[in-house]
């Protein structure tokens, strides 16, 4: 119990790594491929189909498109429109009316910079999240070890509640702030704005959510 506070200090930034594992519902509707229809999209930073080896870094996935993916993604790989040269480009299927980017269209310098940033940031974020989870598991183990010696388990229960609150808060915070950020970003700057807004919202929401969730968990844990 006496370790609380000092052990928490580095944890919220690690929980911020959760942003790139989540999907964010974009509040706005977009013009559909059929005349007069509107489509919903969600933002993700991983290929949601579950296949390894995607060369894309950010995805605007059309909702309810089944196993056949439809949407827009920011891709780094060989491009058919530049003779197979590797570059940052957009890949899209059935979302031309929504975002205005043709399939295999070269990305703007800004979009390419975003892609490059995501490519570097995502593995670091995943590593941070795994490290954060590991440190939390270690803390819980330490409390449990102490409880086994004293026979008093309230400290372990309190730590468990605090950790669970932190991760639940990080999830809820990242999801809600990421969706909000994606919505604001869409309003300000098209698909690149959506991706930047979603990522920033997810990171900030993850940190804030972890802190708030931990505090709530700590408060609940004090009742043990």
């Amino acid at each position: 119990m006496q370790q609380e506070g000092t052990q928490q200090s580095g944890r919220p930034p690690l929980a911020a790594g959760m942003w790139q594992e989540l999907g964010y519902r974009i509040p706005q509707n977009f013009p559909g491929s059929a005349k007069g229809a509107m489509d919903r999209y969600n933002l993700s930073f991983r290929d949601q189909s579950g296949y390894r080896g995607s060369t894309s870094e950010a995805f605007l996935n059309r909702a309810n498109s089944g196993t056949k993916w439809k949407g827009l993604r920011l891709d780094h790989g060989p491009n058919v429109k530049t003779g197979g040269q590797t570059n940052w480009h957009w890949n899209q299927k059935g979302s031309m009316n929504a975002f205005g980017h043709a399939d295999h269209a070269l990305a703007s310098p800004g979009a390419a910079r975003l892609g490059q940033t995501l490519k570097g940031l995502k593995p670091l974020s995943r590593g941070a999240m795994v490290l954060g989870a590991g440190l939390d598991a270690y803390d819980l183990g330490t409390e449990a070890h102490q409880s086994m010696q004293t026979g008093e388990w309230s400290n372990t229960a309190a730590k468990g509640t605090e950790i669970a609150g932190g991760w639940a808060g990080a999830y809820a915070g990242a999801k809600s702030a990421g969706a909000l950020g994606a919505g604001i970003g869409t309003f300000l700057g098209g698909p690149v704005g959506t991706m930047v807004g979603g990522a920033l919202g997810g990171i900030i929401g993850g940190v804030g959510g972890y802190m708030a969730g931990s505090e709530l968990g700590k408060w609940l844990g004090s009742w043990w």
Binding site: S49, Y51, K81, G83, G84, K93, S95
Partner: protein, 168 residues
């Protein structure tokens, strides 16, 4: 190798680029050396205005689908002809199944079609692997893999086969 269906909207890929893509194919298939790589691609600038609109909206050109169908028809007769497709999951397993037109055409709508070497036609594959999911590289005599977001194909085979493919 059934070059009759090749029309003007398709053309060869730069050899240096095809050589770079060879590594992606060899990560899935173990083709015994010596081997060469040759690529074939959609040429968007040669599409008709109507076809270009469809291509810009993510549809594959009909000529490209016909070209793949011709490859299947040609390679199906070879011993150990198989369709190797990436399976979902972190391990990156591949499913090996007997080559057929239907299974290949179904793949064109899947996310695997846009992943480098996510779909591979191979020949000389051990019959014992058919219908199985495989984690290791699959030994075969030659492989024709999808690449460039599903708009190019890379052949990796012995130099004689590659020369014959180019001549056809």
């Amino acid at each position: 190798m059934a070059g009759k269906l090749v029309v003007s909207v398709l053309g060869p890929l730069d050899d240096a680029i095809a050589e770079q893509m060879k590594a992606d194919v060899l990560a899935v298939c173990l083709v015994p050396p010596p081997h060469q790589a040759k690529g074939f691609t959609v040429l968007p600038e040669k599409l008709s205005d109507e076809a270009k609109l469809r291509f810009d909206d993510g549809a594959l050109p009909q000529e490209w689908m016909d070209w793949w169908a011709a490859q299947v028809a040609s390679l199906q007769a070879r011993d150990g002809a198989a369709l190797i497709t990436l399976e979902p999951g972190l391990l990156g397993q591949h499913r090996v199944q007997p080559l057929s037109m239907e299974t290949l055409m179904a793949q064109m709508e899947m996310p695997t079609w846009t992943i480098p070497a996510g779909v591979v036609i191979a020949w000389g594959v051990d019959d014992g692997l058919m219908g199985r999911k495989v984690l290791r590289r699959i030994v075969c005599a030659g492989a024709l893999a999808v690449h460039v977001d599903g708009c190019a194909a890379v052949l990796v085979a012995d130099p004689n086969t590659v020369r014959g493919w180019c001549a056809s």
